[in-house]
Every structure is written in structure tokens, then in C-alpha cells.
């Protein structure tokens, strides 16, 4: 019995690794294509590709990083923030993601800056 259980686990382990590798490989293809189209200015298509990549391999930090950049370019700062944070959660020591995030934060902080409490009011007409 013990041998059978062990065999099942070994088989599962042996098949899971290539599956994960396949997922990463598929996701990488999407990311690669996304980069190509983004470089040509087709950001919507790039977003679609990178979203697919993140779906295929939810642990692919680079896909989230690229997605965040695309959201930033589209002016969707909230989505960009979430994507950057996800990328950093997956790869907290990636200096390039950190650098992108810092630059993003500079812009984001500027737009979401709260006024001081003594301000008379902030109402739109």
C-alpha cells in the first residue's frame, strides 16, 4: 500500500514539473509577443497578451510588471498599482520591477495627493 501511494506521488510530481514548465513557456510566448506589439505602440494588444500570460502562469512576475507598465501608459493607475504590487510580491528582490514601481509611485502619489485638513473644501462644480 505504502509503495503504491509513493508511486502515485512520484508520478504526480514527475508530471507536475513539466506542466508548470509548459505553463511558463506558454506564458513567456505571450509576454514576448506583448513586448513586440508594445514596442510598435499597440498597447491594447499588449495588455491582452500580458493578461493572458498572467492567467496561464499566475506566478510569472515579469508578466505582471509588463502589465503594470501598460496600465500606466493607458492612465489606469489603480490597475497599474495592483499589478506592480503583485509583481513585487512574486519577486520582491527584482531591482528592475522595484525601479519601475518607484517611478510609477512618483506619478501616482502626485495625482492622489490629499489636501491638508485646513483646506476650505474640494468640491467640483
Amino acid at each position: 500500500m505504502r509503495t503504491r501511494v509513493l508511486t502515485v506521488f512520484l508520478l504526480l510530481g514527475a508530471t507536475a514539473a513539466p506542466l508548470a514548465a509548459d505553463a511558463r513557456s506558454d506564458a513567456k510566448k505571450q509576454v514576448e509577443f506583448g513586448i513586440t506589439v508594445a514596442q510598435r505602440g499597440l498597447w491594447r494588444e499588449a495588455i491582452y497578451r500580458w493578461e493572458r500570460a498572467a492567467q496561464i502562469d499566475p506566478k510569472y512576475a515579469e508578466a505582471y510588471n509588463d502589465l503594470a507598465i501598460a496600465y500606466e501608459h493607458e492612465g489606469d493607475l489603480e490597475k497599474a498599482r495592483v499589478a506592480y504590487e503583485k509583481a513585487l510580491e512574486l519577486e520582491p528582490n527584482n531591482a528592475l520591477i522595484k525601479q519601475n514601481y518607484e517611478l510609477f509611485k512618483e506619478i501616482n502619489d502626485r495625482t492622489t495627493r490629499k489636501d491638508t485638513p485646513d483646506d476650505p473644501g474640494n468640491q467640483n462644480p
Binding site: I35, Q39, L96, I107, D119, P120, P125
Partner: protein, 300 residues
């Protein structure tokens, strides 16, 4: 570990790093939506500011001019060209300000050209405030040459942000702003306060120093040294008023400072523009959509 194994593992490590750092720099333009919906306005009036701080820069006049020129080129609103409002004087005349004794106008050097009325009005405002202090400040005599010459200095009493408080009630004076709005066909009104004060600080700072090694190769190394530094702090508060109703729509506080080496002589006006340059994008992004250019790194 044999030599061959070592070489192989080093090559593998290099290939691994190269594989991991597949990156592409890409320029992006981030569109920033305006903080304020100004679609109801076709025109903007930069009315003027209650200014204080150093005597070397007329915060009211310079800020008004700069914002008008920025709005003219970087917003869709039509900028109303008019004299700067004597807000200090208006504030002292309206209830809510401590009693002010207005001295008769001193004989001032005749100003000419475009600055004539602006200078006169601002000067009147200044003298009103001086009256409050009962003593005429000898320092506040109009200066001679330069771009500030035609305009008077700010009242000696306004030296820090606290001194501005007695005048700030003016921005909540709905009737006054409604009247101004009617006069200029209901524009968006930009006003507020500007404090531009000298500042000095000393302490350990890190700077970069060039060094050459024995082979003559140049290197830049960080060096920590004690330095006396002086500069300026700019604290503007921009208030946006609906010219149709006279009510405040939005207000924003900023604070920027610059410090230079103590033996470096930087004119106050150039420091003022340096600091304003930093916050102008934020000011503009309140009224109109802006695109911020930058570079990011796409990763594979």
C-alpha cells in the same frame, strides 16, 4: 571541484543571469486626468495672491505672471489678462481681519508700463498692512533696479505662514468672489497665498567626488561631509474658486525647498523659479489633463 566543473558552473551562472535579465526599455506617456472638472468654464482668471516671506521676490506678481503664462500655453482655458487684484488690501477692508490703520499713501517712484496699476495696487495693500504695525519698516522702501523695482516689497509683518492666516478669510468671502466673477464673465478664479522664505540648514550631507586611482582611472565616490547650506522654501496654496457662485471648489498646498552651498550666491528670483518649476506640473494637472513622459523596463 575540478577546474572544468568550475568553468562549467560559471558559464551556467552567466547564462542564467543573462536569461533572467532579458529586458527592454520602453518610453511611456502616462495620461493624468485633471483633478478638477473645469468643463463648465471657458475662461480662467489668475486673480492674485496674498504673499509673504523674503523681500527679494514679489510672490504675488511673479506667481500671477507665471501661472498665467503656463495656463496660456498648457491649458484649454482662455486666460484673462488683467491687473493683479490687491488682495491684501481687500482682505484688510473686509470683516474678519484685525483692525488696520491705513496710512496715507507715501510718495512712491512713478512706475510705468504694464506694471503701473499692479504696482500701485500692491503698494497700497502693503502700506495698509504697515499701518497695522504702526511703525514704518525702513527695509520696506522700494528697491532700485531689477524686475522687482516697479513693485513694492511685501509687508514686513508677513514673515511666516502664520502671518498669512488673518488674511485667509478673504478666500471664503463668497460675495466678493461672486462680484469678481460677474465682472469677468464667470471664469474659474485662481488665487491663494504664497510664502517664499529664506532658509538655512547645516549638517552631514553626501556628495559625489571625483577620484583618480594610481592608473589614472577616474572614479566617482560618495563622500559625507559637514556643510552649511542656505536656500529658500516656497509654500504656495492655490485656491480655485467658481466665479459663478463665489465658492471654493478646490485648494492645494505645496511645499518645495532648495538648499545651496553657503558660499554660493543664488539670486532669490532664480530660486523662486526653480522651485515653481517643480510644482507647476502638479498645478496644471489640477485643471487640464497632462501626459507625463517616462521610461520603464519591460521584462521577459
Amino acid at each position: 571541484m575540478t577546474l572544468a566543473t568550475r568553468i562549467l558552473s560559471s558559464v551556467a551562472a552567466i547564462l542564467f543571469i543573462a536569461g533572467c535579465t532579458n529586458y527592454y526599455e520602453i518610453p511611456i506617456e502616462t495620461p493624468i486626468k485633471p483633478k478638477l472638472d473645469v468643463s463648465a468654464f471657458q475662461r480662467v482668471l489668475v486673480a492674485g495672491f496674498i504673499a509673504g516671506g523674503t523681500d527679494d521676490v514679489d510672490g504675488n506678481l511673479e506667481t500671477t505672471r507665471l501661472l498665467r503664462s503656463q495656463l496660456r500655453t498648457k491649458s484649454d482655458l482662455r486666460v484673462i489678462d488683467t491687473d493683479v487684484l490687491p488682495l491684501m488690501e481687500v482682505a484688510t477692508e473686509t470683516p474678519g481681519t484685525p483692525e488696520v490703520k491705513v496710512e496715507p499713501a507715501k510718495a512712491a517712484p512713478a512706475s510705468d508700463g504694464a506694471e503701473g496699476r499692479e504696482g500701485r495696487e500692491a503698494r497700497e495693500g502693503k502700506e495698509g498692512k504697515e499701518g497695522k504695525d504702526t511703525k514704518a519698516d525702513p527695509k520696506s522702501e522700494p528697491k532700485g533696479e531689477g524686475p522687482q523695482a516697479a513693485t513694492p516689497e511685501k509687508p514686513a509683518a508677513i514673515k511666516d505662514a502664520k502671518d498669512l492666516e488673518p488674511y485667509e478669510h478673504l478666500f471664503a468671502d463668497v460675495e466678493y468672489w461672486k462680484k469678481i466673477g460677474e465682472e469677468y464673465q464667470n471664469p474659474l478664479i485662481v488665487t491663494g497665498t504664497v510664502m517664499f522664505t529664506p532658509h538655512q540648514r547645516s549638517g552631514i550631507v553626501q556628495r559625489e567626488e571625483e577620484v583618480y586611482d594610481s592608473f589614472g582611472r577616474r572614479r566617482v565616490v560618495p563622500v559625507r561631509t559637514y556643510m552649511e547650506r542656505k536656500g529658500y522654501i516656497l509654500q504656495p496654496k492655490f485656491i480655485f474658486i467658481d466665479g459663478r457662485t463665489g465658492t471654493v471648489m478646490h485648494s492645494e498646498n505645496f511645499r518645495e525647498e532648495v538648499l545651496y552651498n553657503a558660499n554660493q550666491s543664488t539670486p532669490a528670483l532664480s530660486s523662486y523659479f526653480e522651485l515653481m518649476d517643480r510644482l507647476i506640473p502638479s498645478f496644471l494637472s489640477t485643471l487640464s489633463s497632462q501626459k507625463i513622459k517616462g521610461t520603464r523596463v519591460l521584462l521577459q
